[in-house]
Amino acid sequence: MSTLRDAYSLYIRELLILKKNFRSSIARSMIFPIVLILFLGNLGSSPRNTPVAIVNLAGNANAVQFMNLLESGTSGVNIVSITTQDSAMKLLANGDVLAVVVIPPNFGSSINSNVNVYIDSSSPIGSQSVEAQIQSVISSFNAHGSIQQIRGNSLSINYAFGASSSYKSFLIAGIVIMVAAFGSFYSGGMTLITDRQLGNLKAFFSAPISRTSILLSKVAYSVTQSFVNAMVALVVGLVLGGTIASGVAGLPYIIWYVLISATGFGGIATALASRVGKIEVYSIIGMAITMPLWFLSGAFLPTSTLPPIMYQVSVYNPMTYATGALRDVMLKGYLPLSTFVVTSAILIMFSIVTILISVILFKNADYK
């Protein structure tokens, strides 16, 4: 109990310092998302005239209307073939089309008509946005879509690019989680080192409080700073053209994933700072930890597009789950309860483990 009270007293100290430097902190935290979204947001624009094959098992008026809708307007889908399922899948495997859409029998007249969509996950760009485009047309028919990722050879497809908000939203989810993780390294962990260098830690160690309370205050500060940074990143992302498909209803989920990711990474950052005395060394190791995790979290491309070995690594990367869940909220507009439960459990476990390790390391850490 007294540990928590002491941690709170120290947390107040962090908040006072945060408040003192708030403006510059906000300004600084804008740079990273702005640069990334401006550069990568357009680099990863979604394709226009995406070649798609249709398997029309319905052959009714609804199917025709569906195909017209798919090709018209902003969706940018180009139906290059209407054929049997077998030949369509071959086209997909060869990289002649990026997706196969199977229109079920009795499409539009039966409530349970489920549109099967096969998407080439090897597409370095745009498979997510094709998915989103097809999904939106399916929804407009009040039908269900089930999406399946298939590895094809999409590199052989040539298509023109156009700006799209969906890739930006896709990217922003990854950036928000990254900022949450990075923020921990540059707040709680970093100031643990500067506090040691300035002798503040010596003063805290000399007081009749437990070391755990000092560490917990640093984790709490990490989470606070990361939260602020991530919200700034989100706002920057929205201003620069990103969208949240679920609207305001998705915000609590976004906040939850930011907080829980920041907690876990706050644990890693403080554990590292417990044992590393020099800021330079700490920064390099911090980069070496966060950067690969970021790249392997599907921040730029779906993890399904990663080479098999890296894909395996991404499965063990907690960031993958936070990013994935955030993406469901921001792109698809819904987060299945099962996904929420599983990802939350994984991230909570991750946080508990990293904080425990950090507490143990900090117990025996030097005061200078």
Binding site: S2, D6, S9, L10, I12, R13, L16, I17, K20, N21, L198, G199, N200, K202, A203, F204, F205, S206, A207, P208, I209, Y367
Partner: protein, 336 residues
């Protein structure tokens, strides 16, 4: 150990790998005194203080603070101690008031008591006008005064100060001494201060322990220590370096047993009949055709004590280290 002692160190020893930083210290600091631990850089002062604070585990020996065993019941003992450390121990990004509030909470002082303390302590440090100013903007002297009063927020029985006046100018140093004396007298706080400044120990401390290479080599009041090297005044003879051993021998031969040469100086206790002895010495030196640069006589200082006990002057030790600092600073600039 008795009810009269604030801190008792017994056979306290600290080794860092093979290096012995504190080499078996026995010390009893009495309640209510201002006690000085005087020694040059690297003598083991900070290591001793840090062991008392529980920041460093002793290799062996025991530490008792207000009759509490500090090895096993650290948290309990810590509540009795206020600390002003060698590093500037204020929070630069907090205001003066916030500094005191933070430490009041960390020492579990109740919230309404803390509020009273803030005004009282800032007044004591003559910082009332700077209550809501960030401590980082304060001058060195103000920062140290804030650090000192901040250490009093929980009404400790003892305050430990590790070289608190390091780097302060004379004026601020004197002001801090006054503050410490005032605190000691009016609040009945035992003060343990480490320093490498002879004047500081001399002026401020009731009792002094001289520490060198991790060992207490002398202990007593300033005047006891000065008397310990012999009666009467001290003479210093300065001359060319090569002549020093020669002069030392001649002085010993004429009966100045305490003669001791270092660098370009020989010092000795002159005892009774100083003028007679000086004349005699000058005669001998002239007969031996030894040219000296000067001769002076003064009352014994703590430096004489240190010189006598260690064979080196503490002023030299301090000066060498600060020269090194300057050289290092120059080196860094050179690289940039």
């Amino acid at each position: 150990m008795s009810a009269q002692s604030a801190i008792v160190l017994h056979k306290l020893l600290k080794r860092f790998n093979d290096f012995t930083a504190v080499n078996g210290i026995d010390l009893e600091i009495k309640k209510g005194e201002i006690f000085g631990l005087l020694g040059p850089n690297g003598a083991g002062k900070s290591t001793t203080i840090n062991m008392i604070l529980g920041l460093i585990k002793p290799t062996s020996g025991s530490i008792t603070v207000e009759d509490i065993d500090m090895i096993n019941k650290q948290e309990l003992g810590k509540a009795h101690i206020g600390i002003v450390s060698q590093e500037t121990l204020i929070e630069p990004e907090l205001t003066a008031a916030q500094n005191i509030v933070l430490f009041g909470r960390l020492y579990h002082v109740s919230e309404n008591k803390i509020d009273e303390k803030v005004d009282e302590l800032l007044n004591l440090a003559e910082l009332t006008d700077f209550k809501d100013k960030y401590a980082g903007t304060f001058s060195g002297g103000m920062q140290r005064r804030l650090a000192v009063v901040r250490a009093l927020v929980h009404d400790p029985d003892i305050i430990l100060l590790d070289e608190p006046t390091n780097g302060l100018d004379v004026q601020n140093r004197v002001k801090l001494w006054e503050l410490l004396r005032h605190i000691n007298e009016t609040r009945n706080v035992t003060v343990l201060i480490t320093t490498q400044y002879l004047e500081e120990a001399d002026n401020l401390c009731n009792r002094i322990a001289i520490i060198d290479h991790g060992k207490i080599i002398a202990l007593g009041t300033s005047s006891q220590l000065k008397q310990s090297i012999g009666k009467g005044n001290v003479i210093d003879i300065s001359a060319n370096k090569e002549l020093i051993p020669h002069i030392e021998k001649l002085m010993k031969d004429m009966g100045l047993e305490s003669a001791k040469g270092t660098g370009n100086k020989v010092m000795a206790n002159i005892g009774t009949d100083p003028m007679k002895k000086i004349n005699k010495l000058l005669g001998i030196l002239e007969k031996n055709k030894i040219h000296i640069d000067g001769i002076s006589m003064h009352e014994p200082t703590l430096d004489d004590v240190f010189l006598k006990l260690t064979g080196t002057s503490m002023r030299d030790a301090v000066e060498t280290s600060s020269k090194n600092d300057r050289w290092l600073a120059g080196g860094r600039h050179g690289m940039m």
